[in-house]
Each structure stands twice: as structure tokens, then as C-alpha cells.
């Protein structure tokens, strides 16, 4: 438990300081814990698990600035996971939402299980990306998918570098909102 806290925390702190390898490691390890967490709670709808893992990873990315360095990392992670789970169950039925509301804080104290067998999600976030307007979609495709620099993306699209950065930032938030809306 403490090991998990320390490893995850160390890699997120490195990531927030600009280490993208540490960031990939953080997201991969978080994904494994999230998968185990959701699998245990979505026994009757196992095919929702990977969708929710991906949605939560996107939320971790979009909300990474809310991790305050004085707080413990695992409660932060699980509070986001639980928020996403309640969101899903609320969309499915009001009765199931109450079932989850009962076990409010259990996750923070539970022994962290991990499941590192990533599957493919049912919903394709890449298809959802196509629904975004160009000013959001193009920066994400060029920088985040094709790995080009912000300067190259600005050159290719005729946007300013600042607009490319804003486009990535807003676009990923919009992608999260669309994913949660279209459930």
C-alpha cells in the first residue's frame, strides 16, 4: 500500500516537472489499479470497464493540476475514479447510484489491487476526436498522436503556438465531456 503510494507519487511529481517517460509509467500503473477497481465494482457490466478506465485516465490528465503536493496521491486517484464510476452508474440507473454512494471512502483505505491486462475499449476515443472542431482536433492529432512539436504543428496549421497549446488543452477537456455525455 505504502509502496504503491510512493511509486505513483514519485512518478507523477516527475511527470508534472516535465518527464514524459515517468508520466507514461504513472498512467500505466494507474490504469492497472483503475482496471482492478472498476472490474470489482462493475461485475454485471464487464464490458464497461475499459471505457471507464480510459475516461478516468483522460480525467487524470485533464485534472493533473489539482494534485496538491502536500496531499496523498492514492486518495486523489481513487476519488477521481469513484467520481467517474458514480457518473456512469447515474447514467445507467438512479438505483445503482445509491449502491455506490454507500461505500464512500472505502477505496482510499483498500489494499491497492492491480490488473495490468489492458483490453480494447468498446467506445473509440479516436472516433470521438473526429467530432471536435479543427482548432481542437488538429493540434491533438499533430502533437499528441503524430508526435510533432508545437512549433511544427503551428507551422502546418497556420495557428499560433499559443493557439496550438490551448487547442490541445481545451480539446482534451472537450473529448472528456463528449465521452461522458455519449454514454
Amino acid at each position: 500500500m505504502e509502496d504503491v503510494e510512493e511509486t505513483l507519487r514519485a512518478s507523477l511529481l516527475l511527470a508534472l516537472a516535465g518527464d514524459s517517460q515517468a508520466y507514461a509509467a504513472f498512467l500505466t500503473q494507474s490504469g492497472a489499479h483503475l482496471r482492478a477497481y472498476f472490474r470489482r465494482r462493475l461485475v454485471t457490466s464487464p464490458n464497461e470497464v475499459e471505457d471507464l478506465v480510459q475516461e478516468t485516465l483522460l480525467a487524470l490528465h485533464n485534472r493533473r493540476h489539482t494534485y496538491q503536493t502536500t496531499q496523498r496521491l492514492t486518495p486523489w486517484l481513487y476519488a477521481i475514479a469513484r467520481y467517474k464510476l458514480v457518473d456512469l452508474l447515474r447514467a445507467q440507473s438512479p438505483r445503482r447510484q445509491r449502491e455506490v454512494a454507500l461505500d464512500d471512502d472505502e477505496a482510499a483505505g483498500e489494499l491497492l489491487a492491480a490488473d495490468a491486462s489492458p483490453a480494447e475499449s468498446r467506445r473509440d476515443l479516436l472516433k470521438l476526436l473526429d467530432t471536435l472542431p479543427d482548432r481542437h482536433r488538429l493540434p491533438i492529432v499533430l502533437v499528441k498522436l503524430e508526435g510533432r512539436s508545437v512549433a511544427e504543428a503551428a507551422e502546418a496549421t497556420g495557428m499560433s503556438e499559443a493557439a496550438v497549446k490551448v487547442g490541445i488543452h481545451r480539446g482534451l477537456k472537450k473529448l472528456a465531456a463528449e465521452a461522458s455525455r455519449r454514454r
Partner: protein, 214 residues
């Protein structure tokens, strides 16, 4: 899409975040809200006519300190509740203690006054406009705090809404105190507190719908 592909996509490029984003954003919103409330009070309502003389009396400062403490505790709560996985129990307990102390001191004032003077001590001359103006002055800050909080990640929505409301109320009440010429603690204990309670209740009620983020 494979989850590994999503992770590779998210991790690619610059993911740096300067530390202290929560405090910076909330702080900027509070500064703007306070500036707006002060300008509104000083231009639309005007400072009380005797503000120079009144500033030498302790009661003038007591009327500012109560909203200031409410606002400070609400800020402490809001900055914790803006991050997932944190509670604000200590700030809530301190706020309850503050209220209890203010009410106890006010009750002592009322009890030690002659019976004939008690009504005026509690009601003053401006109770209705005090509550209405504090509540009204708090609304722009409350709206701005909701926008800021939605860009952060509150997961206990009613609590975060209550903290935002109390913070907006504290700012509004502190600004309003520059206009208001009531000079008794019982008046503050009842009507200022009620004025701040309105946005706090409003924030609590609106939060489940308006603080949701995806």
C-alpha cells in the same frame, strides 16, 4: 482504441504543470471578487458618512473581522475541496466555533442591555437591506468561483458549493461593512451571518448541477 495507445498519446509532448495551480486560480478569483465588491460598495452605495471617526472604534473593525474570518476559513475549505480526495473538516469545525463565539458574545450583549433597548440592539435600522445587499453583492463572486472550481476537480460537490458560497458571502459582507453604520455585535451576529448564509445555501443547492465536470 487500445488503452496503451491512449496512454502514449496523453504522455506525448509537454505535460508540465507549475505547482500551486489550485491556489493561484482560487486566489485570482478571490482578488477579482473582492475588488469588484469594494468598487460596487464604494461607488453605488458609498462609504458611511462618518467612516473616518468610525474607524477609531473597535466595533468598526469587529464588523470587518467576522466576515474576514468567515472568508478565510471558506477559502481554506475551498482550496482543499477543489482537489479530489480531500475533506475540509477542520475549516468547517473552526467556522462552527467562530459562529458559536460570535453568537455567545452577542447573546451576552443582549442579556446585559436594558429590556427596552434589546429590540433595537438586534434589529438596528437596516436589517432587511443588510441581508439583501450582502446576498446581492456576493452573487458575481459566487458565479466566478463556480467557473474556477469547474476548471479544478471538486468531487464533494455540495461541500465545495457551500465553501464557495461562504467565501463569496464573506467578501460581500466585508465590503458592505464599509457602507453600513450599524454598530452592535448582535446586529452582525444575526443579519451579517444571515446575509452570508444566503450565498452559502445557494452554493450548496446549485453545486450538484453546476459544479459537475467531465
Amino acid at each position: 482504441m487500445k488503452t496503451d495507445a491512449l496512454i502514449a498519446m496523453l504522455a506525448r509532448g509537454d505535460s508540465r504543470v507549475a505547482p500551486g495551480a489550485v491556489d493561484r486560480r482560487l486566489g485570482a478569483t478571490v482578488a477579482a471578487g473582492l475588488a469588484l465588491a469594494l468598487v460596487a460598495v464604494l461607488t453605488l452605495l458609498g462609504p458611511r458618512a462618518d467612516i473616518g471617526a468610525a474607524a477609531r472604534l473597535p466595533m468598526f473593525w469587529a464588523k470587518l473581522i467576522v466576515p474576514f474570518l468567515v472568508g478565510a476559513l471558506a477559502f481554506a475549505a475551498a482550496r482543499r475541496l477543489a482537489s479530489p480526495g480531500r475533506r475540509a473538516s477542520a475549516a468547517a469545525a473552526l467556522a462552527a466555533t467562530l459562529l458559536a463565539v460570535v453568537w455567545a458574545l452577542a447573546a451576552f450583549d443582549v442579556a446585559s442591555a436594558p429590556v427596552a433597548a434589546r429590540g433595537h440592539l438586534l434589529l438596528g435600522n437596516s436589517a432587511p437591506q443588510c441581508v439583501a445587499l450582502i446576498a446581492l453583492l456576493s452573487l458575481p463572486t459566487l458565479a466566478a468561483l463556480f467557473v474556477t472550481l469547474r476548471g479544478l476537480a471538486p468531487t464533494r460537490l455540495p461541500a465545495a458549493g457551500a465553501a464557495a458560497g461562504a467565501l463569496a458571502g464573506g467578501i460581500a459582507a466585508a465590503a458592505y461593512a464599509l457602507h453600513c453604520d450599524e454598530m452592535t455585535l448582535p446586529f452582525v451576529a444575526v443579519w451579517y451571518v444571515l446575509g452570508m448564509a444566503v450565498p452559502a445555501a445557494l452554493g450548496t443547492l446549485l453545486a450538484p448541477r453546476w459544479l459537475r465536470w467531465a
